[in-house]
């Protein structure tokens, strides 16, 4: 700690019994005090932050009931997690050369993410026909939605949440539709990942250099219900509801809140000029697409400094 001749914060002058005093010292002291009072530095304010909320949410078509047979056409906003997949290309062959069988040199990040995969959460039944492409199984059938944020000044990520809504059991539909994988019951326990990365400040485009600020892989989404005791906490048709009501006597079709609620309290400081990427990884079930037709609500709470 640097030498400081006075214990005072607002002035460097210290007046003590038995010491001399003169007008110059007093004037300097009062100038220090009045100047600091008239231009209070930010560090003298204890609550120097305000909240910022980034919310992303969407409801795809899958919520048709009883409606026509479910036919999913697009995967927006989900992209594959790997930019080059052994056993199958996911780049477009250029028009002048359709014979490409390996990724072009221009594939900058074969792995666009890190920290999401492990051997336990394949969405493929071991020994099945799909299992012949281990790399594909581990990475290829997963999809990620990434939201990129920019902070020009220091910030703190205080909460990250992901809600995957499902209709409550008391829905007028007569059945709830929990978030689960039907492709393989054995693989139902561990699903996706939630990641928060910060780009490397000197090589922003190399994802292998990203700083991982938050990573939850092997995330058991089903183990995070909105309320484990929903039937007693939200007693059907009697819990105090808002309008339009989801009660059977109401006009909304959903029922009580249900589904998956991941709410992570965090305390992640971000330096100035941070490029932050918030990613949710889910598994593509090759045909059933169950994860895609869920409505997602992704929210990041951050604190930003007064200026």
């Amino acid at each position: 700690m640097a030498y400081k001749k006075s214990p005072r914060k607002i002035t460097g002058h210290q007046f003590a019994k038995g010491t001399t005093i003169d007008g110059g010292r007093l004037d300097d002291c009062m100038e220090d005090i009045s100047s600091r009072w008239n231009e209070v530095p930010g560090g003298d304010i204890e609550p120097r932050w305000t909240q910022t909320v980034f919310h992303a949410g969407w409801q795809p078509k899958g919520l048709t009931y009883p409606g026509p047979a479910f036919t999913w056409k697009h995967h927006y906003p989900w992209l594959t997690v790997k930019n080059s997949i052994a056993g199958g290309n996911n780049w477009l062959a250029v028009a002048t050369d359709d014979s490409l069988t390996t990724a072009p040199d221009s594939v900058q990040n074969v792995y666009r993410l890190k920290g999401y995969a492990n051997n336990n959460n394949n969405a493929v039944v071991p020994g099945s026909a799909d299992d012949e492409y281990p790399d594909l199984n581990r990475f290829g059938w997963r999809r990620a939605a990434t939201t990129a944020l920019y902070f020009s000044r220091p910030a703190i990520i205080t909460q990250m949440s992901m809600l995957i809504r499902a209709d409550g059991a008391d829905s007028i539909l007569g059945t709830n539709r929990p978030y689960q994988y039907t492709y393989s019951a054995a693989l139902d326990a561990v699903h996706g990942a939630v990641l928060l990365d910060v780009d490397d400040p000197t090589n922003t485009e190399d994802r292998s250099l990203n700083t991982k600020e938050f990573a939850r892989s092997q995330y058991a989404f089903r183990a995070l219900p909105f309320n484990e005791h929903a039937s007693s906490v939200f007693v059907a048709n009697t819990f105090p509801d808002m309008f339009p009501s989801v009660h059977a006597t109401g006009t909304m079709p959903y029922g009580r809140p249900d589904g998956i609620a991941m709410v992570e309290e965090t305390n992640i400081p971000l330096p100035a000029d941070s490029r932050v990427r918030f990613t949710v990884v889910i598994e593509d079930q090759r045909g059933s697409h169950v994860p895609f037709y869920k409505p997602y609500s992704l929210t990041i709470h951050a604190l930003e400094m007064v200026e």
């Binding site: 209070v40 530095p41 048709t64 697009h74 990040n109 703190i156 994802r207 339009p244």
Partner: protein
Amino acid sequence: MSKVTRPKLTRGTKLKTAHVHGVLGDIATDLNASNVTIDQLSDSMGTFRINFHIPCIDSRFASVVQRVDGSIAGLQQYAIPFTLPPAQNYFKKTGVVGDPPRFKVDRGVPRIILDEFSFSFDQGAANAARPDYHDITTSYGAGTNEGTLDYEEIDAYTMELSLSEKDQWFFTAASAVDGAASKRHPKRTIFTYPINGAVFASKVNKPNPFVITDINHVMRPFTTYIIYLSLPNLTKVGVQSASMPNSPYTSNPDRSHALYSVQISLKCRTDLDRRDEYSAASNSIRNYPSKDSATTDSIRSRTVTGDTISISTPLSNTDIEAETAGGINTNIQFVDQAFRDKFRGGFNDRSETAATQELYADSCYEVLTIPLLNNAQDQVYGVKNADLNGSYAGVLPSGGGGAYESIADRRIIPLKEPMIVHHIILARSFMDPATYAAHGAPTHTEKYPALDPNANGIFANIQTELGVGIGSGLRGDLGAYINLAYVNTAVGAAPQFTVIDYINSIGNYTSSAYTHDLLHVPLMSLATGSTGLGYGSNGLPIYMGKSWDPTSGRTNAINTAGALATPATKGQEQFLEVRIRLSNSAGAVQDATSSKLYVGYGGLWLYVIGKKYLTRGYHGDATT
């Protein structure tokens, strides 16, 4: 003004108490009265952001709009309108019947300054474009290249970002019905920024996120702002076909592309403001923590809490001393300790205020942006083909027993820090999808809603039921909700929307049709009438925030019967919830004879506007 001035103590001047104790006494007086004002703070502006997340903008978005006769109506830009009304305590409008309302902005209304605009989308960490699922060589929806890497056509991401402003219809209309097309277009462009798609092929320092800094534009209240995103190359359409009637292109087609996970963020600075204080007589904030408001110490100044700083002034002609009661060092110590403890104010995430407060202004403007009914299969919700809507068509959830089909959505957003809600604004989109005509629309103009003679934004063919509320029960043992706002246009009685503005995002399009409107959504008010301030009738501000036991006691809020009552959430709210349900006037969603849109491309945006508080960076408590 709580700045101090002091007499200079020049050589030869006799030392007086005004030189030292007078200055310290002035400072102590302001500290005791929580009067450290923003004009003496070096950092006196809070920040807030208006954040938009768009799951995708695909080639179905009609960049080029064609009239029925084949002529080009104009370039349709992806547009998002918003407005930043002053908080209720600054909201002033006048007007009489037959004369449009006028607004008034007093001195002292916190300034809002746009500082930064950032834009990003998900390229998947690749220097390539991403095709969408449309294969325009045949028909929409038949593509197989969705999400793949396209290194050839990165120019699909050539775009132009801009921000424009316009006067609001609410303040300019000569009567309740004024369809002048000129009043639907922006009046002034704040900035326009073209981006060549080639930059997104860069392997070094790719501008994604793309950031425009130091804009320093003062945002005006009572003004509509429109973010425009022009994407002329996203849809590269080839031979015109029945499925692509809007295409002006005749060359061979290229691939079509999409922007995935678009994030737009407008960062603004705003003056710190005195926080709303509860007053049973004049400002009975709903659902407000009653811990302090039950007494007079809603601002816990040192005077109120009994922790005053007292400067002892020595008598004249006494010795100059350091450490006695009137000593210079003793009294400097009092002020120094206040600085050492730091100046406090605001709320923490459990609705608790600081033990003592020195700051005069400890809150600032806040906007929460919530998307609704977006990312549908066809990116729109139309009337004609209910089966394409992702709706609950065929479901009969109505307590009335009628055939209530509905297009519905529900958003849940966990609460972290508290805020007081002053206004809620709804922006509706009726932007045109390129292939809507393929679903049966005979003419272009019919895709838009008819010009609405109803100042409450009610269409003959669209009934809207919208509820904004707060709830508890997220892994908790109290499952309950209260409404912040509720509108049901089918009822016809108050409260109803108030139209703020109509916007047409199609350049040179002179029709009276429009692509967006902005509606004011009234906060909950007593059945006997509203007492808040806003564009239309409005309820009083409503607090929302988590609590710990001492702050769970709340003032009464308006219940669903329109009466004041103890909030059902009991101060334990954990999340904000928005519910919306659309149907036609017959209580259904499908009408084969109509070609109108319920919801245009991009869906709806709901803005929850109010004041948030200064808070510490870390509360020392990482539990939910």
